[in-house]
Amino acid sequence: MSAELTLPGVPLRAQGITAGYGGDPVIRGITVHAMPGEVVSLVGPNGSGKSTLLKSLVGIVQISSGTVLVGDREVTNQPPEEIARAAVGYVPQVDDVFAPLSVKENLEMGGYLLHRKQVAERVDRVLAVFPQLAPMLGRAAGKLSGGERKMLAMGRVLMLSPGVFLLDEPTANLAPMVATALLETHVRQLATSGASVLIVEQRARAVLAISARTYVLGGGEVRMEGTPAELSARPDFVDSFLGGGRDRAVTPE
């Protein structure tokens, strides 16, 4: 049963992002954008900077040059708590829930910026989207299974009714069937509900199936972009995963 979920989608525009962890930059001159209602994926080999890009968009990693716009609002290098106030939701790859807090409390924290009266209503809405969480409201988040944790992590972000949804490898460490379900059902639903969704994924095939557009990253830069159909048709698409990159990937130290 799909819930009536509407999210106030806002366009996300990242222009010429160069960022790193203090030494050499990990990503250079990256430009990506995601419009409301579409799933945009970021794929590429390890070390290509995908995670770093997301972290720089939410204020965890310092951007040395470039701008990030959420709608009309510039959020470059703002602290994460302010970016959350710009209705940007972020699901990290690891440490994605508050492990000692209960499922319900996790959701409440997701709704930290809401008025008290709104919280209960939003929790209900999240439970409608993720009914598997309903019987587990009192359980500590650290005790959930991998798939349940990811749903909780996404549900936490949903509490805010974000206009932009950033997901960092949500299917990592999930069994293939669970992963496919997560992508095809829940991630797709976020976009159809109106949000701009930017998702980093290792499972290139699976995420291309739900994407409107895809960027292929390599060595800290954008190597290719286009619709999944366009990219799959290119002979060098597969190569880019299996060693087409000319520049070195620079890993954070």
Binding site: V58, G59, I60, P79, P80, E81, A84, R85, G89, Y90, P92, D95, D96, V97, F98, A99, P100, L101, E105, E108, M109, G110, Y112, L113, R116, G142, R156, L160
Partner: protein, 288 residues
């Protein structure tokens, strides 16, 4: 049996003082990841503030209120002015211990410099002695126990039911994620230190009341009891600290009655070392 009961009485009072102190200490660690070894020094500073008020002619209970405010402010300053800058620089955990020991010296002996080295006491009445179920306690002792229960209940309500309390727990569990939720963790941390600093001041005064006479070094050994209670329950776990305080408080006093009083701290020390060696996450902490 009377030995047991009277030591039980002492144990309850010690456990009460220890509980207030330990909860404050453990919450500071939980939210900042720093073992604030200057906690004992701030406690005794609070005790002396109340003493000054008391000497000025006011009741020690008013002095307690003043001490609570002073220690609250002082703790916030300690974290914002000393611990946080060092942490921001990437200072190692061991060096943070040395920093907190340095602050202990400054605060504790600053108090001693101002107050002199002799032991002092509050001018207060202990109140009538009451008996219930074989236990003999003075009114003041009962007040201390009641205060402790009140504090535990308040902390429980704060952490479980209030938005701030949950934000504190979230910040302690995963600071970055908390920020992603829009929680202004800097503010939450400051408030946490203000509240725990208040607990520290409160603990200091009731410690001094319970001890009778005290000087600036009186909390040196008590800090070890706090550490034992905190590590027994699990560093960062408020309920663990409460549990640890009860166990350590009762164990030290009851053992003191049956073995010589000189060794009563030994149990706490050994418990602490055993916990560090065997299960550093504590009885209530998650297994690493």
């Amino acid at each position: 049996m009377t030995i047991f009961l009277s030591s039980l009485g002492f144990g309850l009072v010690t456990a009460s003082v220890l509980a207030i102190a330990s909860v404050g200490f453990t919450l500071q660690f939980g939210v900042t990841d720093v073992l604030n070894l200057a906690y004992g020094a701030i406690m005794i500073a609070g005790a002396f503030v109340a003493y000054l008020v008391n000497q000025a002619g006011l009741s020690v209970w008013i002095g307690l209120l003043v001490a609570v405010v002073v220690c609250s402010l002082g703790s916030v300053l300690l974290n914002s002015g000393v611990y946080t800058p060092f942490q921001r620089r990437g200072t190692s955990a061991i060096t943070m211990v040395i920093v907190s020991l340095g602050m202990t010296l400054i605060i504790e002996f600053g108090v001693q410099a101002l107050a002199g080295g002799t032991a002092v006491s509050y001018t207060m009445s202990q109140g009538a002695t009451l008996q219930a179920g074989g236990l003999t306690l003075t009114v003041v002792q009962i007040v201390v126990i009641a205060l402790s229960v009140l504090v535990m209940a308040s902390v429980h309500v704060l952490l479980r039911y209030s938005k701030l309390g949950k934000a504190m727990r979230a910040t302690a569990a995963n600071k970055t994620l908390a920020r992603n939720c829009g929680i202004r963790t800097g503010r939450v941390i400051t408030i946490t230190w203000a509240l725990t600093g208040a607990l520290c001041g409160l603990a200091g005064v009731v410690f001094a009341i319970d001890a009778g006479s005290f000087d600036a070094t009186a909390t040196d050994l008590f800090l070890v009891l706090i550490l034992a209670a905190v590590f027994l329950g699990g560093p960062g776990q408020a309920y663990g600290a409460m549990l640890g305080a009860v166990i350590i408080g009762l164990a030290t006093e009851i053992s003191a009655a049956y073995i010589t009083a000189d060794y009563k701290y030994v149990i706490a020390f050994v418990a602490l070392l055993v916990m560090l060696g065997v299960r550093p996450t504590g009885l209530l902490g998650a297994r690493t």
